[in-house]
């Protein structure tokens, strides 16, 4: 077994350990022994059983798949655009989701629990449709990325305009939602995100050689039999659906898609298969622990997860950059 396989096995083990350990963190004290008893169905306390199965496990599982999903989406986008700064958020997905959430908050205040994620998803989808349409017209990758940024700013400005004239309570709700949180997630959310994640992983496994071929340029890939435009549109669509679903349930969680693939490239490798597996595992570990920090660092409150991902992410990113500079 080579070095890469060793690292991947170690990371997979860390994901399992992290997920189990993360369940024990939170306001209610749950020991590892209690957790194990409850996991095998012999829970002694009803409260502990409810906390573990209805609060902690859904939350940890959503953190796991959301971390995997965001990191994979970033990794795919960076490889298909050959741009290390590509990120799901760069394509206006969060701005679109924000616009959808704003409209839902302002106009459907009565039934917001269902309407907000749905509207956020539709908003994200709307922004992706605009970017994909632009991608079809513009063949150049640089222009596509710039178009994504432009769409992002356009949708954000519409959101801000609505919020400026909107009711303060609804405005607050949207702002807090955009900061990201896993406090209200349910098991059903996990199933939805996991199914789209599964489709994305299967698609990447099927097409990993084609995506790799793009790394030496479009012309080189085309000479190897790759339909470059179709592949890029398909992957863009998959990343958009994945990110839109995660954002719809968890709000804005920035930096994971940008940062995790960079760490994986340093540790494991740049080709798609290694990058995707590594990103999925490190992304999961990262978001599980960030959520633990979010829910257990303050005594009676939670810190929005997006704030921690951005803060931790940027610091860690600078550290990695410094380390690689020193090593070179």
């Amino acid at each position: 077994m080579n070095k890469v396989s060793h690292i991947l096995f170690l990371l997979a083990a860390l994901v399992i350990v992290s997920a189990i350990a993360a369940i024990t963190f939170g306001p209610a004290d749950i020991t590892v022994k209690q957790l194990m008893t409850c996991l095998i169905g012999h829970c002694q306390s009803q409260v502990t059983d409810v906390v573990i199965w209805q609060v902690r496990i859904p939350r940890v599982l959503v953190a796991l798949v959301a971390g995997m999903g965001l990191a994979i989406a970033g990794a795919i986008l960076q490889n298909i655009t050959r741009n290390p700064l590509a990120d799901p958020y760069l394509f206006g997905i969060v701005s679109g989701a924000g616009l959808g959430a704003t409209i839902a908050n302002i106009s459907l205040a009565d039934n917001i629990t269902v309407a907000l994620p749905l509207a956020a998803f539709l908003g994200a989808l709307f922004s992706v449709i605009i970017v994909v349409f632009i991608a079809k017209v513009l063949k150049s990758m640089e222009q596509l990325l710039l178009a994504g940024v432009a769409v992002s700013f356009m949708l954000a400005s519409i959101t801000q305009f609505i919020l400026y004239f909107g009711e303060p309570f609804a405005t607050n709700r949207v702002i807090f939602w955009l900061m990201g949180s896993l406090a209200r997630v349910e098991m059903s959310n996990f199933y939805v995100i996991a199914s789209i994640l599964f489709i994305a992983i299967v698609a990447v496994f099927a097409l990993h050689r084609q995506i790799d071929a793009l790394l030496l340029g479009d012309e080189s890939a085309a000479s190897l039999g790759v339909n470059v435009d179709k592949l890029r549109l398909l992957m863009l669509g998959i990343c958009a659906a994945l990110t839109a679903t995660i954002v719809a349930y968890c709000g804005g969680i920035g930096f994971v898609g940008l940062m995790i693939p960079h760490i994986v490239r340093q540790l494991i490798g740049v080709t798609t298969l290694k990058l995707i597996i590594g990103s999925a595992l490190i992304g999961a570990i990262f978001l599980i622990w960030v959520d633990v920090i979010a829910r257990s660092s303050l005594p009676h409150a939670e810190i929005p997860i997006g704030i921690i991902t951005s803060a931790l992410g940027s610091l860690f990113f600078l550290f990695i950059m410094y380390r690689s500079r020193v090593m070179h």
Binding site: R82, Q210, D212, L215, G225
Partner: protein, 309 residues
């Protein structure tokens, strides 16, 4: 030798501009063909048509047909075309730190199905191809850290892994120094497969290609052996320069040299001028002139001079 590729009446126009005009030629198995001509002659466009990249032949502005083994090229899928043609581009940088192994594995793509992983046979193929180009030790080296010539050799090795019958090279010697230019072209010659390449350097083309296709303004001007294609009259007409043909003493290949008309005139004019070393080795003394000027303009000085005299 059997005909591998047949190009019939190929024309390409983009907004009234002729890219290619009624191109006709055949390529036989095992030939090493150089496509030469000035910038904008249509060399790279012709290569693109030959590989039907991104369904270029389905373009409404293109007429004519390309046959691969007597079958119309447009009936082949992109994957089938990649199984027959391997393309080596001028420049292939990657922003990510790809290893030579990663680049080599790309060559397996046209022969792999979805979900397929690498097997032992693939690894043997890669090792064999790298040893053929003399880079056996470079498997785990970063592709971007290789020299231009080594990168070209890796891409030729990737083409070998691709196991195609026709190797297409677009300006393979660009960005390479003289040593690597010869090394890469010699390697291409030794592969014993059909090679079609665009080459800017006519002397290199003559040395390493069995047959040359001379393009000018989208038209195929001449097709034949280097000696028959590289005639001074034809090249002078196309490149707008004076040309002289000779046979290289060592290689026996036809060689051409170009020179500007001004250069010729300059040479002639030099012989009529005084040679540089016969010129006086002193700087012209401008001070007396200034003094004389001042004196001429100043009557007082004149008077004083008069007085002194």
């Amino acid at each position: 030798m059997s005909i591998l590729l047949n190009i019939h009446d190929l024309s390409w126009k983009v907004q009234q501009k002729t890219i290619l005009q009624r191109i006709n030629f055949n390529i036989r198995k095992g030939e090493v063909i150089g496509i030469i001509g000035p910038n904008g002659a249509g060399k790279t466009s012709l290569l693109r048509c030959l590989t039907n990249q991104a369904n270029i032949l389905a373009n409404a502005n293109i007429s004519g047909r390309v046959y691969l083994k007597n079958t119309l090229l447009t009936t082949f899928s992109a994957k089938e075309i990649a199984q027959h043609f391997a393309l080596v581009m001028q420049k292939n940088d990657s922003i990510f730190a790809l290893s030579v192994e990663d680049v080599m594995k790309m060559g397996l793509l046209p022969h792999k199905s979805l979900f397929s992983l690498d097997n032992h046979h693939d690894k043997t193929q890669i090792t064999l191809a790298l040893s053929k180009v003399g880079l056996s030790d470079a498997l785990h080296t970063h592709f971007n850290q290789l020299s231009g010539g080594e990168q070209q050799r890796v891409l030729i090795a990737r083409a070998l892994v691709q196991a195609s019958q026709i190797l297409i090279l677009d300006e393979p010697t660009n960005h390479l120094d003289v040593y690597y230019q010869h090394q890469v072209l010699q390697l291409v010659n030794k592969l014993n497969i059909t090679v079609i390449m665009t080459v800017h350097d006519l002397n290199l083309a003559s040395l390493y290609c069995q047959r040359l296709l001379l393009l000018n303004k989208g038209e195929l001007v001449c097709d034949g052996s280097p000696q028959s294609v590289l005639t001074p009259e034809r090249l002078s007409h196309i490149f707008g320069l004076h040309c002289q043909q000779s046979i290289d003493d060592i290689t026996g290949a036809t060689q051409v040299s170009f020179y500007l008309e001004e250069n010729n005139r300059y040479k002639n004019s030099l012989s009529t001028k005084v040679k540089a070393d016969t010129l006086p080795n002193t700087l012209p003394n401008i001070v007396p002139d200034i003094e004389a000027d001042i004196v001429a303009k100043n009557p007082t000085t004149n008077k004083r001079r008069d007085f002194n005299e």
